[in-house]
């Protein structure tokens, strides 16, 4: 294979079901300059080290357009970038504020306290499978569950959930670096969706400001840290980020999980008999089939030497998490799905200051969801394998996952 186009091949739709053999080729050159100017980093230790390297920026404005790479911009219109696209100190300020109502040290029990509610949502969704012997895990379960969770968490009314499906899909589509239609058209559609979503949230924020509840939107609107709070527009941008990141990825985590379990019936049986297995199993899943396959928005702030290759200042860097997670120099027998794997410090949630903000929530959602599906579906089987995938190579997962089963266990 030609190494200068490997990244392109890995993201091509025909390889969506199994990009891993191409990743293995890619890893032969830990830092591989692609024909389009992108530096693809695919080995575990190099990715880990770049994610903790202050010379690497997440702010796309640091890119030198002369060095090539697809320009992925979604923020040029009316909304400023969210913290996922910012560097410290702005990133730190916004992330700290967003974290205050979400987790420790200020709200350590937020996620823990949602346990019963999540279990109830899961039970209700699975109860709806009654009277059928075939479901689409995506449409009937993995999509509605995290959307309900994130809406509940943020304080979005239940009856408005359907609006988000459309907006988020349009926004997420813009992240596809190998489009069929032109990137400009998709950027325009995504931009419009962001504006619509932003407009909706503006109204919602105002409602929460007048009558604050226990939710995150209320907290972000009315509560301030020692150095002030978020501006109204920052609240909206952050809410858009949490809304999209908070379910698009979890949908894929749960669906990839069910797919992997159905391909490993012995492990599925173990999970059914021992729900506690869900904890290490989800970690292994985050390694084996990470919902975020690559991080395409890093840029060098200086010429830096990585594994013998100098990446020039301003050059675009893609960190291929899905490849790093299967690096045999880090993980023994990396292509085997092994929930008993020890020392499993995967890159599924990234690393460094941008480490997945919602990781504790995503973990709990996936653990409860997979344990419940394993317990309640009797003799589940895939209707076809591989399933049909979404187009998106960054947030990778099946578009549908049709599963048959004999009966529903109470």
């Amino acid at each position: 294979m030609i190494s200068g186009t490997l990244l392109n091949q890995a993201t091509e739709y025909e390889n969506r079901a199994d990009p891993y053999p191409i990743y293995a080729e890619l890893r032969k050159t830990p830092v591989a300059l692609q024909d389009d100017g992108v530096y693809a980093v695919s080995t575990y230790w190099e990715i880990r080290s770049l994610l903790a390297d202050p010379r690497i920026s997440s702010d796309i404005r640091n890119r030198d357009p002369r060095l090539g790479g697809p320009m992925i911009t979604e923020d040029e219109a009316n909304l400023p970038p969210s913290f996922i696209r910012l560097d410290p100190p702005e990133h730190d300020r916004l992330r700290c504020l967003a974290g205050r109502p979400f987790g420790p040290p200020h709200t350590p029990r937020r996620i823990h306290a949602m346990h019963a509610e999540l279990a109830r949502m899961i039970a209700e969704l699975i109860d709806r499978f009654h009277g059928s012997n075939q479901v689409d895990i995506v449409e009937d379960f993995a999509y509605p569950f995290p959307v309900a969770v994130i809406c509940k968490l943020l304080g979005v009314p239940h009856q408005d959930e359907h609006l988000f499906h459309d907006w988020t899909e349009k926004i997420v589509n813009a992240l596809d670096p190998n489009p069929e239609e032109g990137p400009l058209e998709r950027q325009r559609v995504a931009q419009q969706a962001r504006l619509d979503l932003g407009g909706y949230l503006t109204g919602l924020v105002e409602e929460h400001r007048l009558a604050p509840g226990e939710d995150l939107l209320s907290a972000l609107t009315v509560e301030h840290g020692p150095d002030g709070g978020m501006s109204p527009v920052e609240v909206i941008v952050t809410a858009v980020l949490l809304l999209i990141a908070g379910h698009e990825t979890t949908v894929n985590l749960i669906t990839n999980g069910m797919l992997t379990l159905l391909r490993n019936p012995e492990i599925l049986r173990r999970l059914r008999d021992d729900p506690d297995l869900a904890v290490p199993l989800v970690e292994e899943l985050l390694r084996f089939e990470p919902p975020v396959q690559l991080l395409p928005q890093r840029t060098c702030l200086a010429d830096i030497d990585v594994a013998g290759t100098v990446i020039p200042k301003g050059a675009p860097i893609w960190l291929v998490l899905g490849a790093g997670n299967r690096d045999p120099r880090r993980f023994q027998d990396p292509d085997r799905f092994d929930p008993d794997r020890r020392d499993n410090e995967h890159l599924g949630f990234g690393s460094g200051v941008h480490y997945c903000f919602g990781a504790p929530l995503a973990r709990l959602e996936a653990q409860l969801a997979l344990a419940a599906l394993a317990r309640r579906l009797a003799n589940p089987e895939l209707v076809y394998d591989p399933p049909v995938y979404r187009r998106n190579p960054v947030l990778r997962g099946p578009r549908h996952l049709h599963v048959t089963f004999d009966t529903l266990v109470a």
Partner: protein, 464 residues
């Protein structure tokens, strides 16, 4: 005695004694079993408790968030050991391969691991140290007693010594709304471990959180009432404070007295061992059946000019224990060196502090990210043109980068431009460490020269 050819036989039927049943001892025992050691394993510990974790004792336990008896270390695996807890080791006979216990019994070994750690340096005046209300903080028992006293809302707590333990105790007091005075002999808190520039930030943190911090001062007397209860503390500037609790946080003493006369190179700074964790004898000759790990060890480190380092770090105890165990069940070239880059953390006043490398070797300091004034920053220490250490306040996610800078002997001042580099981070300043001959609470990492039988160390108690 285990000879090269008999390693396999030793691994089947040998007899390992581990003296010290805390973090290093337990992790070594687990690693021995992981490495395939199937013989007899005897764990000797002076405390009655199963191995427990110490970092929470000055944090979650003092805050009342968890109780002291819930800090037992999680087990990585079953170790199938004979436990001899509650009786300290009192002597070592190298020629007969026997450890003598304080109750007179003897325990024979083929190979020995010494992991006896350190203990809190007591208040030097014994009668004052006996007063009700005077505490040290090292063991579960210490933490439980101190927590009970804090829960009873004392009028004012005096912390003597502003090292990491002292600062964490002061932080816990403030979090519980208790008035606290910190008396530090040096010019700032943490000055021995992190230098004067960073120490000034630690001082700001304390004052911002309502600590009555007094530096360049010593406590000259702890005064009790007729009932033997602590009432007052006298300071070297003539001040008298009404206090009902005093926490002595003057650093740690290595538990090596039991080895006096044994022939091992054991002294106040620990037991000298080689990079493979084998103990040296007093002649500077390395032994082959006695290994050392954890706070009690003193080992040469290639990254720091092969000087002997004494470390009081949790991560070092784990890593060194694993290396010692690996080398105990192998011989010759199958052995590996202990190459851990020193690293530690602390939590105080809501700030997470992390450090890598050997800050006290630093001559200069440069703030590479954030700003000292914001109490959120990363800074590197320079020594002879290279990066020798780093410290972060609420910037811990970058620490791996700095660790690699140290490992690769990156140039100082650093050439790189990174995110969040500020104007005041463009020029190095003196790191401002005090003269190491003037002990304060002591740094948690000490470089102590090149000689294995280095024994010089004096601590001068406060003059009255």
């Amino acid at each position: 005695m285990v000879t090269e050819g008999s390693v396999a036989e030793f691994n089947r039927n040998g007899r390992v004694v581990v003296v010290g049943a805390s973090l290093a001892g337990l992790r070594a025992a687990e690693a021995l079993r992981d490495e395939g050691f199937a013989g007899t394993l005897i764990m000797i510990g002076d405390e009655r408790l199963q191995p427990y974790d110490r970092p929470p004792l000055s944090k979650q336990v003092l805050l009342g968030r968890t109780s002291a008896d819930r800090t037992l270390l999680p087990r990585r695996r079953a170790i199938n050991a004979e436990w001899r807890l509650g009786v300290p080791a009192a002597g070592l006979d190298l020629s007969r391969h026997r450890v003598r216990l304080a109750d007179g019994r003897e325990v024979g070994f083929d190979r020995l691991l010494i992991a006896t750690g350190a203990r809190a340096r007591p208040w030097p005046r014994e009668a004052e140290a006996e007063l009700d209300g005077v505490f040290v903080l090292r063991s579960v028992g210490d933490a439980a007693k101190l927590e009970r006293r804090l829960a009873a809302k004392p009028h004012r707590v005096l912390v003597v010594g502003a090292g990491f333990t002292g600062c964490e105790v002061a932080s816990a007091c403030r979090a519980r709304g208790i008035e606290v005075t910190v008396a530090e002999r040096g010019p700032a808190p943490l000055v021995g471990a992190l230098g004067g520039v960073v120490g000034a930030v630690a001082a700001e943190l304390q004052r911002k959180n309502g600590v009555d911090l007094r530096c360049n001062i010593t406590v000259t007397e702890l005064e009790g009432d007729l009932g033997g209860r602590l009432k007052r503390a006298h300071l070297s500037d003539g001040t008298v404070l009404d206090v009902d609790v005093a926490v002595i946080a003057l650093g740690a003493l290595r538990n090596t007295e039991w080895l006096t006369g044994s022939g091992l190179a054991a002294g106040p700074r620990g037991i000298a061992c080689d990079a493979g964790c084998r103990a040296f004898d007093v002649h500077g000759i390395v032994t082959d059946d006695v290994f050392v790990a954890g706070d009690v060890a003193r080992a040469p480190h290639p990254l720091f000019g092969y000087q002997f380092l004494s470390l009081e770090h949790w991560g070092n105890a784990v890593s060194q224990a694993e290396t010692a165990a690996h080398n105990m069940v192998r011989s010759g070239l199958d052995r590996r060196p202990h190459l851990w880059v020193p690293a530690f953390w602390s939590a105080q006043f809501g700030v997470n502090i992390k450090s890598v490398g050997v800050p006290p070797m630093g001559e200069e300091l440069l703030v590479t990210q954030g700003a000292l004034a914001e109490h959120r920053f990363a800074a590197v220490y320079g020594y002879q043109g290279r990066v020798i250490a780093a410290v972060t306040f609420d910037h811990g996610r970058w620490i791996d980068f700095y660790s690699r800078q140290i490992e690769s002997a990156a140039p100082f001042p650093p050439e790189f431009v990174g995110v969040d580099r500020r104007a005041d981070g463009m020029r190095p300043v003196p790191a401002d460490f005090p003269d190491p001959a003037l002990p304060t609470h002591g740094p948690t990492v000490t470089v102590s020269g090149y000689a294995p039988n280095e024994r010089r160390l004096t601590f001068t108690p406060a003059r009255t």
